[in-house]
Amino acid sequence: MSVILECTELTKKFASKIAVSGVNLKVERGQIVGLLGPNGSGKSTIIKLANGLLTPTRGNILIGGRKPGIETKKIVSYLPEKTYLNDWMRVHQIIELFSDFYDNFKPEKAYDMLKRLNINANDRLKTMSKGTKEKVQLILVMSREAELYLLDEPIGGVDPAARDYILATILSNYNENATVIISTHLISDIEKILDSVIFINQGQVVLTSTVDDIRDEKGKSVDGLFREVFKC
């Protein structure tokens, strides 16, 4: 299996604050990986570094062997933690925008998912609830046939029933060569669909393991282990 994301001694400082500190990571293709850590542990910073929205202070991050840039953005589908879409736009207009923007965007996939979640493509974003907006954004991101999906807190604002549908969507839309990295703290909801997990704390990787190895060795769920490791 080849590596899709690789970090070597990756470090990011904001003034005097160290957000990511000497991270070494390899994520292979065809995996669904959970990037798990408490608030402020550096999850979003790593994802932003992978997208080239931030540049490393030190060390390297490579996507399919390349530094983040135009070529990697073609193969990376990114769900940011905050919305960046214009809220006066209607959903179908955004779908047209994405079709123009990305070669690998499949509008028919997007319309299909919108229908399943009862979202009207003629609605404007600004008339939607927080949860519905999040669903629209995730639909857009998963409608691309990417090699790496970076989902920053994809299920935080949506109800449990929609959460199940979204997880099913992630499962059915990624292919054997694609990797999905999901950053979240809602672990119990997603651990069944993960291959492996990366625990980070204070900018450092504290554990990488497969979900079943954790259950096997510790006799508890990833959620249970997380609560133990990050006990306040």
Binding site: Q31, L171, D212, R215
Partner: protein, 123 residues
């Protein structure tokens, strides 16, 4: 059949147990074809690689056969199924016997209780 997964055991071992039950109960009769790994994973809401791992183990135990071109099916060898079924029964019963011993029951008492309960159920 709904898939029930607990949080304290590896997911793939639970998938193995549940697929076995589906085979024993006749939900997947001998010789029948299994859905694709992706479809089964989606139905159970688990990672496809985990489902793959469970099916590989069942194949190792000769309960499932993989055809090179046309997916997987349940073995037609009903003897294999019976063997696996008996093994599971023995595991369940020895677990039960251990618990009863912990509660302080003698073997004879246990058998009497079981006999009485079976009679009750027949009524």
């Amino acid at each position: 059949m709904p898939w029930e997964l607990k949080s304290d055991r590896p997911i793939y071992t639970q998938l193995i147990d549940q697929i076995k039950l589906m085979i024993f109960s006749g939900a997947y009769p001998p010789g029948s074809r299994l859905p694709s790994v992706r479809d089964m994973a989606k139905e159970a809401a688990v990672n496809p690689n985990t489902m793959q791992r469970a099916l590989a183990k069942l194949e190792e135990d000769s309960l499932i056969i993989t055809h090179r071109t046309s997916g997987r099916s349940i073995t037609e060898d009903t003897r294999m199924v019976e063997l696996a079924k008996n093994k599971l029964a023995q595991e369940q019963i020895s677990e039960f016997l251990e618990k009863m011993q912990l509660m302080g029951f003698e073997q004879k008492e246990i058998l009497t209780i079981i006999n009485n309960m079976v009679k009750e159920m027949k009524k």
